[in-house]
């Protein structure tokens, strides 16, 4: 694959690869700590999606700067997987809410030592 005309773009808006990676890392960290710290199952679920989006950002940036397309193709697979996960996950959350009338993690603690 021929090199992309990045040099021409750099003068117009100089966003380096590192900037994208920092953004992805920050998004990933927000998602990760959100999963660990938040109490509402739905918010936890959104944080999980945020982590996948962070991966997507990094993937597209790498793909662009390395001049190969397979990273962009990978994004479609990630989106599909995320959609499947959401479909199953929300079904479980709804079924659980109908049994227990709550989605707060601190009240979902019947299984324990």
């Amino acid at each position: 694959m021929s090199a992309l005309p990045l040099a021409a773009l750099e003068g117009a808006f100089a966003v380096s690869l590192n900037a994208y990676l920092y953004l992805a890392a920050v998004l990933f960290a927000i998602g990760f700590f959100g999963v660990l710290l938040r109490k509402n199952t739905l918010v936890i679920y959104m944080c999980l999606e945020l982590m996948l989006v962070a991966c997507t950002v990094a993937l597209v940036a790498f793909s662009r700067y390395n001049g190969v397309l397979d990273g962009n193709v990978f994004v479609f697979f990630i989106l599909t997987v995320a959609a499947a996960e959401v479909a199953v996950g929300l079904a479980i959350i709804v079924a659980l809410f109908r049994r227990r009338q709550t989605v707060q993690v601190e009240e979902l603690n019947v299984l324990k030592n």
Partner: protein, 506 residues
Amino acid sequence: MTIEQLQAAAASNTWSTIAPEIGLGVLALLLLVLEIVFPKKKHALIPTIAIIGQLGILLGLLINFSPAYLGSTSFNSLLQHSETGQYLRAFFLVCSILVSLLGVVALAKQRMPRIEFFHIVMVVTGAMMLLAQSANFLLLFVALETVTVGFYILVSYTRTNPLSLEAGLKYLVTGALSSALLLFGIVLLYGVAGNPAALGSTDNPMGYFGVRQFLAANPGDFLASVGIVLTLAGVAFKIGAVPFQIWIPDVYQGAPTPVTAFLAVASKTAGFAVLLGLVYVFQPYETLVVTTLSIMAGATILFGNLAALTQHNVKRLLGLSGVSHAGYLLLGVIATLSVPDAAGAVWFYLFAYLLASFAVFGVMTHVAGPNDAEQDLDHYADFAKKRPYLAGVLAIGLGSLAGIPPLAGFMGKLLVFMAAFKAGLYPLLAIAVVGVVISIYYYFGWMKAAYFSTWRPPLPEGEPEPAVPASTPVSFPMGLALGALAAASVVFGLYQGPFAAWLLSR
């Protein structure tokens, strides 16, 4: 990419190489069609068709065990075909058949739709078979997610039982978290390996071989190191290694018993298949990999055994003891970096683990009442008198899990520990031996509950006897399968012969 390259890529799509997986997929869809076509009265036939169909696929795989495509890659090097891959295909199919057998027994106790269970089990099995042969991070991620999403549904399958749903939610959150960690690791490796300016950059940064080549040319790259640690953490979640084992006891307890067996054996084996592939890819960063895995292995063995000591629920007990088994297996994985036959030892250990685990879970499925999550050691009081056959199978299974000679579990532990000894992992070996000694206490506690009556304090006036669910009678095929598992545990303990020799030469 030129036209010639695209043509070469298209020509490498040899569909016949994944015939067993396609067969499983077709069979899974056929079951759903049959459910619509058959009248309600004949629905009991469908699980039988599922099991016979899977036996047919297994037979076809064993007859054609060394096809011409072995040793080559297909689908533009997404898949790498090897004898180990063939062995794992057969391994997962055996798991799937046994889970289907257990599923028939367990689902009869619930008022639940039946057919979808077998459908999802087969789809998950097909994905695991692809996972074991993957040579590309893209396929690795997609196959692993197919397995994981399938397991979300299976774990929460008893949707009338809040415990099963709670287990499903816990598995969902931890599973999705681990997938995201794995994915971020893959993305970082892909990004650094594909950088055209870097030394040893590759035109296939998603392939295992390309990444290995890059890592060998760039020792000590920061982003690559972060990627390696994240990827290993994501896989550690799947095999349940400390510090990523938090989900294990809850999910094992809440899931229906056949699914617990599936998670314990097949999911763990799939995790180790992935881990062995990754350890090979990450070999240029040996110090980092060995340090990470050694810390995990030691902590896993100690935590699993100590936490299992106090458990009264047998499903939690098996879950935590499974954590310690993952620790012993990690020793074998670390040893593969320096000892060539260590991978074979890991496969033999997992085979012995399959025989013993399914024997124990088979007995548990028969003992369980309608509430699958509540299975206490107390339910096994006078078990040997009431059900001598099942008690015998249970004793052999537990003995093999504990590693008592002359059972297969002992040989598995011996082979793995010997490999670790040859690799010079002496401190970890010491921890492992201590772990094995601790494990004998809780496995024999369970046997004691089944074989010897224990004194219990008299109940206060007017309090009813705690109810013990009536155990189900054993059907002929199930009895045959359990007997075969127990017999195989004994036979492979006494004589490993060409089977172990073949595995160790992998």
